[in-house]
Amino acid sequence: MEFLRDLWGFLKERKKYWLLPMIIVLLIIGILIIFAGSSSVAPFVYTLF
């Protein structure tokens, strides 16, 4: 939560809201990759990519 708050504060201060979608997509991919390493999310990742 603190991370998201910090990130939002940063984007607001820099007025670079256009980066938000890119960061969210990257974070989702990142989280999926991390989980895919050892969990049941793996098949889901394979169908996505």
């Binding site: 910090d6 940063f10 820099r14 990142g30």
Partner: protein
């Protein structure tokens, strides 16, 4: 208030602890982990800093990281977007590291500190200073100046690769920045790479190689013209514009576009083990001279827009002591202060100071004195600690109650041509050994440079050595009229000390030129009569001073060679054990560990192996 500054995850991780405006301790992580330029979280350095002050993590008022990760990530995303579709391979490689680690540095710092002890994270806040602000603060606040212009130049921070700031009334205001991808540091690193040295560590070799280039030779001038015409646009305000058609760092995992460089210079990229030819030296000289020109432009502009008389310098490029000396000799500024840990390690110190003065508004009281404690901010070891190591290895040693006896004995041995490992007092913070973790020898010996390079340090034969000279006698040997305690300036050896050179000296190639005896202190006289000297002050390093003084009593020479206590690729020794092992695996003759003296010929240790491999840098 106790403030912990941290630099990590890029290169040269370090930690620094200040108590109000006093620097309590500072150290680079590489010294503990024995991995050169270690970039991992500086847990050992943090532990050392806390121990030095006898405090817990929970007693810290703040933890300050030396740059802003979000801002750097913003630059990364924007630059990949700008260069797309090029750079996909580099994007795919770098983004996972960010998503796993670098974007979550706050959590990472908390979890690393928990390895030291548990604490309530709500009570300790983590702050982030900007990269170049950290560099600027690391140079200004310890300088003791009341106001100054500050110039910081390095490879790359978040967006900035160089900045000009003005410091007054204890505040730093950044006035001008040079932004990505334009970077003098990266330009110099690109040549470091093209000439076969390792980026981020071989830059000083390139600087050492440059004087072997032939000044004003057609080839050198041609290289300079090519650099100006094709690689970099140099502007009078010190800013530069790189021609990205020739550089690969923005879109690939390589510094340069090799084929284009080879075609441009008519020269194949040099591999690390290839011979160094005159053409390499000429190219090194060309980029060194271009670098000096750019730095001088920046300095002039900094003076123009700040109107200050004093200059503070920091950032990796400030390790280029040849360029620093050009600044000094230009007299654009009356006084210059350079942070001794001028690379990213020093960013830890600057981060802590910037929080203290810019966030907490702590009152800045300029003392006029250097607050770096001569850079002796690292660990020190007692005679008892040393004895434990010597017993472990069953070493043969002599203990001296009176340290003056040691100085007298060692001075005599240096005069006899012996090479000494010298380990006393607190370890230095920053890349230079300044007399507490040093290898010392006689600078008058014509053979010593070759012997030290090839048999002790196992490094390239052309590399010069630095003299450590008594402060008040420096003028006898060198054209210098200021103190140079941190080996950050070069100076010319006095004409009266020089020897007559062969008529064809300027035309000689690297190795024939190297072995010409140029002065009465040949081991520290570089091929262009320069020396990267360290002036030794009685007040800041009394033991090292006494040693050189004793040497002077015997020889009437007030200087000795001072090189870092390590071999090629190894971080400078930190502990007595590191020192003992390094001593045993090289041809050093004598080792001094505080009050213990060990002779190599008396060691007969078969039980242990001292062979260690370090990746050459």
């Amino acid at each position: 208030m106790y403030i912990l500054g941290i630099s990590a995850y890029y290169h040269d991780s370090a930690a620094c602890l200040i108590f109000n405006n006093e620097i309590i301790a500072a150290a680079q992580e590489e010294r503990f982990t024995r991995k050169k330029h270690d970039k991992s979280f500086p847990i050992n350095a943090v532990r050392f800093c806390l121990n030095q002050a006898q405090i817990n993590v929970s007693e810290l008022s703040a933890i300050v990281y030396y740059e802003k990760p979000f801002l750097k990530f913003e630059r990364l995303l924007e630059s990949y977007y700008h260069f797309s579709p090029y750079g996909l391979a580099s994007f795919v490689k770098s983004i996972p590291i960010w998503l796993r680690e670098k974007l979550f540095i706050k959590d990472e710092i908390y979890s690393q500190l928990r390895k030291i002890e548990s604490f309530d994270k709500k009570k300790i806040k983590i702050y982030f200073s900007e990269h170049h602000l950290s560099h600027a603060a690391s140079a200004f606040y310890p300088s003791g100046f009341s106001s100054a212009a500050i110039l910081t130049i390095d490879g790359m921070g978040e967006w900035a690769s160089a900045s000009i700031a003005k410091a007054e009334n204890g505040k730093i205001k950044i006035l001008k920045e040079l932004h990505y991808p334009n970077s003098l540091g990266l330009l110099y690193s690109a040549f470091t790479y093209f000439l076969g040295f390792v980026v981020n560590s071989g830059e000083y070799k390139l600087m050492g190689l440059a004087p072997y280039g032939i000044k004003n030779a057609e080839e050198t001038e041609n290289f300079k013209n090519l650099i100006r015409q094709k690689l970099v646009e140099i502007k009078l305000d010190g800013s530069i514009k790189l021609n990205m058609k020739y550089f690969g760092f923005a879109t690939s995992l390589k510094m340069i576009k090799i084929k284009k460089w080879q075609k441009l210079f008519g020269l194949k990229i040099r591999k690390p083990k290839d011979d160094i030819l005159q053409i390499h030296c000429n190219l090194a000289l060309a980029i060194q001279e271009i670098t000096e020109e750019i730095v001088l432009n920046m300095v002039k502009y900094a003076q123009e827009i700040t109107g200050e008389k004093k200059l503070c310098l920091a950032g990796g490029v400030a390790l280029n002591c040849v360029a620093n000396s050009k600044i000094l000799n230009s007299k654009i500024f009356e006084k210059i202060y350079i942070q001794p840990a001028t690379g990213d390690a020093g960013g830890a110190l600057g981060a802590a100071f910037s929080y203290l003065y810019l966030y907490e508004n702590f009152e800045y009281m300029p003392t006029g004195e250097d607050l770096m404690k001569a850079a002796f901010l690292g660990p020190e070891f007692s005679n008892f600690d040393i004895l434990k190591v010597l017993r472990k290895y069953e070493a043969n040693y002599v203990f001296y109650e009176n340290k003056q006896e040691i100085f007298k004995y060692i001075a005599k041995k240096i005069d006899q041509g012996k090479i000494i490992g010298w380990f006393r007092g607190k370890m230095e913070f920053g890349p230079r050994a300044l007399g507490n973790r040093s290898i010392i020898a006689d600078a008058r010996s014509a053979e010593m440079q070759k012997k030290l390079n090839l048999k002790i340090k196992f490094r390239e034969g052309f590399r010069p050595f630095a003299p450590a000279v008594l402060l008040e006698d420096a003028k006898k040997y060198f054209d210098i009229d200021i103190a140079s305690p941190y080996m950050l300036f070069t100076s010319q050896v006095k004409k009266s000390m020089r020897k007559k050179l062969p008529d064809n000296y300027e035309e000689l190639e690297l190795f024939p030129k190297l072995y010409v005896e140029r002065s009465n202190i040949p081991a520290v006289t570089h091929c262009d009569f320069s020396a990267r000297l360290q002036t030794v002050d009685k007040n800041t390093n009394p033991d090292f001073y006494s040693l050189i003084e004793k040497f002077k009593e015997i020889t009437n020479t007030s200087l000795i060679i001072n090189t870092s206590f390590n071999v090629r690729g190894e971080p400078i020794v930190c502990s007595p054990e590191d020192a003992f092992r390094c001593f045993m695996r090289t041809d050093m003759d004598i080792l001094v560990l505080e009050n213990y003296v060990l002779l190599k010929e008396k060691q007969n240790i078969k039980k242990y192996s001292f062979k260690e491999k370090f990746k050459p840098d």
